[in-house]
Subunit: 337 residues, 2 copies
């Protein structure tokens, strides 16, 4: 029976429409090859020996000491050569009735080169490598947030060309923006309103619900919970959230980072194995750099496999039609080991 | 120089980032074959002789009289067999703190079979056929809006499988929803606020601006204007808007429908020829069925060619990075004849 479910944070509705799964075409699942691949590609900007083809590293992890921008690193972060933003002088122009308002696109963009291995999927990284990746996000957040004009720092990954990855070598992106983006602003406003009415964090209450109900849980360890959100926008949408209250990713302790690495590796592996390495996007939703959201906001990660195409209905209305039942998606992923 | 432009209606910002167009990969333009194709496919649900494979028609145009659901029609509208919504009894359930709110997905979905020809691209229709299509949208809007539970009627088209079209035969979709979708609600709120402050319609003021400036005009005739919006979200985003003030598509007169057909055919042809028949989505933004928006809202059509992939940044933040300058996109399309 078709139903509509409400996102409790933003108030937006998703149509859960299992009937549409029977339409006469297959979901456009674009599997990329399992395992295999190659360790090193001499043409790749992100491989060993090509460090000079990227801007100088702003963060590097190495097992053994070595010169900057030379091989031997475990993970590097570099400025994005093809950034859409930079930190040149500010300007803003507007016409009288504000129909044409234009500002300099002030910001910073970086690429996290997740591993020296040219084709190893992030889901197959050793857990220590996942930990380096999650630690790099934290360290770059802290560094980038020092720039006064930065209001938000988006940290995300596109896996597979169908999800927008333009290079094969595993990498994540960080984009620091001079505004708080609308999706974050909507979550903050929803969470603030809920806090005002209920004197509790909406995410903490959602976690309590999920832990009682258990039908949407994908994985949990001591400190982290992965689940399919009640109003999932697409098949196999997967969240990961700390069970403890915390508004900001960069406040993670070294111990918490270990727990997160274990949980995140498990989630990525379930997605990879269960859905044949689908294209996906994941992103971290964390507090803006210059707003006090400590009481009511709660950072989390959202992973959206690209199983269907966003088409005219979604683009034109902002509503989503999910052709899978979240509880069934969660049950399936829960079973993948 | 990278800049950010503000959508004057919703207040959302787009990053206009021409530097990124130089990234080491081509935009994922998925051209489908020019011309050619076949007139009839015996396996196609939407072709002549297969009328019995669809639900019965709810609207049909014929040049000569004929029995319902038999060949000879010029355009048919049928209920969508794979609808995500229907008009069964209502229900709504919610938990105490509104974390899980669920309603029956009450609504209606229809498919407009735009032509008997199996593969003829909409851009290559004779103008009379475009007029039938635009008239069918109007007539179905009027009919569907009679159902009291319907709050909005989304009318849209997906062209090409990469834009979400699941069948080759040219068709549009109509989805009538029990809520006003968030994208429409945001436009209405922005336009209402502008009206309150300026005592004029924001869209009418935008039209005046565009007609003076002229750099973003793609095409115009006496009553309609097509232009690249100032804060275009993607390369070659194309709007079409009536120059006269009107909040609702279904108020179009027979004479206005002729003018619209001429303008819309020209726009579709420019997109088809200029961009090698790209995948695209277009949708009509019109007034909700049960709100008085007459003074401040202004219906329009938005067409978004799928030249790039919505990835982690766009999904995670709701911000867009456009790798083309709207004035250059408009200049290019203006030159296509």
């Amino acid at each position: 029976m078709p139903e509509m479910r409400r996102n409790p944070i933003t108030g937006e509705w998703t149509i859960i429409a299992t009937e549409r799964a029977q339409r006469p075409h297959k979901p456009s699942l674009d599997a990329t090859p399992f395992f295999g691949g190659k360790n090193h590609d001499p043409e790749c900007f992100f491989c060993y020996e090509n460090e000079h083809t990227t801007p100088p590293e702003v963060l590097v992890y190495r097992e053994k000491p070595g010169a900057a921008n030379t091989p031997g690193w475990s993970l590097r972060v570099v400025t994005n050569k093809f950034s859409a933003l930079n930190l040149n002088e500010e300007f803003c122009m507007q016409d009288d009735n504000h129909l044409q308002v234009c500002c300099y696109a002030r910001g910073l963009a970086e690429v996290v080169i997740e591993s020296p291995h040219h084709t190893l999927n992030t889901a197959l990284f050793p857990i220590q490598q996942i930990e380096l990746l999650l630690k790099a996000y934290k360290e770059r957040y802290i560094e980038l947030s020092k720039e006064p004009s930065i209001k938000y720092i988006a940290m995300f990954k596109n896996n597979g060309s169908q999800a927008g990855a333009s290079l094969e070598h595993p990498h994540s992106q960080i984009i620091a923006t001079p505004i708080v983006p609308p999706v974050i602003q909507a979550e903050i406003e929803g969470a603030k309103q809920y806090y005002k009415e209920n004197k509790s964090c909406i995410y903490c209450d959602m976690i309590d619900n999920e832990l009682k109900d258990r039908s949407r849980i994908i994985y949990e360890n001591e400190e982290f919970l992965s689940f399919a959100p009640y109003a999932s926008r697409s098949p196999f949408e997967t969240w990961l959230i700390p069970k403890f209250h915390s508004d900001s990713y960069h406040k993670l302790t070294a111990k918490q980072l270990k727990g997160l690495s274990e949980a995140w590796k498990t989630v990525l592996y379930k997605i990879y194995m269960g859905l044949d390495n689908p294209p996906y996007n994941y992103f971290i939703h964390t507090s803006p750099t210059r707003q006090d959201t400590e009481e009511f906001f709660h950072w989390h990660m959202e992973l959206i496999p690209k199983m269907t195409i966003m088409a005219g209905f979604e683009l034109g209305t902002g509503m989503f039609i999910n052709i899978a039942i979240p509880e069934q998606s969660a049950e399936y992923l829960r079973g993948i080991r």
